[in-house]
């Protein structure tokens, strides 16, 4: 049990395929667009909020279900209060300026 163990070139190829699908979904979900990112922070168009929370919720149910069956490991990043908050504040400001 546990996750698959794919190594070497196959693992790199898997990463590339995962990335292509990731980019495809983000583009179709419109969250790669300047207007959508800026509207996300202006709260004038909630597309990014909706896509993000639908992604979090569906993944939450799915990943914890897989975890229940022993098929995946969780990867929870440690809580570093000051770093998480300061990093988030800086990141949010930059994301608004950049718009992506």
């Amino acid at each position: 049990m546990g996750p698959l163990e794919i190594t070497g070139t196959a693992r790199l190829f898997l990463g590339l395929v995962t990335g292509i699908l990731f980019g495809f979904i983000l583009q179709k979900g419109q969250v790669t667009k300047y207007q959508k990112i800026v509207s996300f922070f202006r709260w004038s168009d909630l597309t990014v909020q909706k896509v993000m929370f639908a992604g979090i919720l569906s993944g939450m149910v799915g990943v914890y279900a897989l975890h229940e069956f022993g098929l995946v490991n969780l990867h929870i990043k440690p809580t570093l209060l000051v770093a998480n908050i300061a990093g988030g504040l800086i990141f949010g400001a930059g994301m608004l300026l950049l718009g992506f």
């Binding site: 693992r11 990335g19 292509i20 990731f22 980019g23 990043k77 300026l97």
Partner: protein, 173 residues
């Protein structure tokens, strides 16, 4: 097939697929959708071209080595996938460098200003992601779904900061 050619998918379809893709990443790669560590690795590779001894002596880069791994390939795949998605819904994808309407309404038509503020934003995004140990993918999406405390703190801070900045910058537009 018409579905693949649509310019946009409803939010719930895109969200559901992101959830499924993350499940696949957890199962097939024992990892999660994430991006920002790759930028550290790429930076180490670039610095290594001119000062390899500096890279070797750097404590962080000894841990996060300048190698091409699963996530590195994922980051390379993102623009390919985004291009395919855009290309499928139109005859040609223009890389015109035209400025977004919302930008022009606030900052005008100067390309130099767009580049300057864009690069400044990019530096803040990169620095913030390293400091917080994650970005919108690794923290918000993948950490959020695991109910990681660090990720929800990051997400809250990011949204508060961006909302305040948006109010300050765009309130008169």
């Amino acid at each position: 097939m018409n579905w693949l050619k649509r310019e946009e998918w409803p939010w719930w379809q895109a969200g559901l697929l992101l959830g499924l893709l993350n499940m696949a990443a957890f199962y097939t790669a024992d990892y999660y959708l994430s991006v920002s560590t790759t930028f550290s690795r790429a930076a180490a590779m670039l610095v290594g071209l001119v000062a390899p001894e500096h890279v070797a002596a750097n404590a962080y880069w000894q841990k996060v080595k300048p190698i091409v791994d699963w996530q590195f390939m994922l980051v390379l795949g993102i623009p390919i996938g985004a291009y395919l998605a855009a290309r499928l819904s139109q005859k040609a994808v223009a890389f015109s460098g035209s400025l977004p309407e919302m930008w022009v309404n606030r900052f005008g038509t100067s390309q130099g200003r767009r580049w300057t503020l864009g690069i400044l934003g990019g530096i803040l995004v990169g620095f913030g992601a390293r400091l917080a140990d994650g970005c919108t993918s690794g923290h918000a999406l993948s950490g959020g779904l695991q109910l990681a405390v660090s990720s929800w703190i990051f997400l809250a801070a990011m949204m508060v900061s961006g909302t305040i900045m948006a109010f300050l910058i765009f309130r008169r537009v």
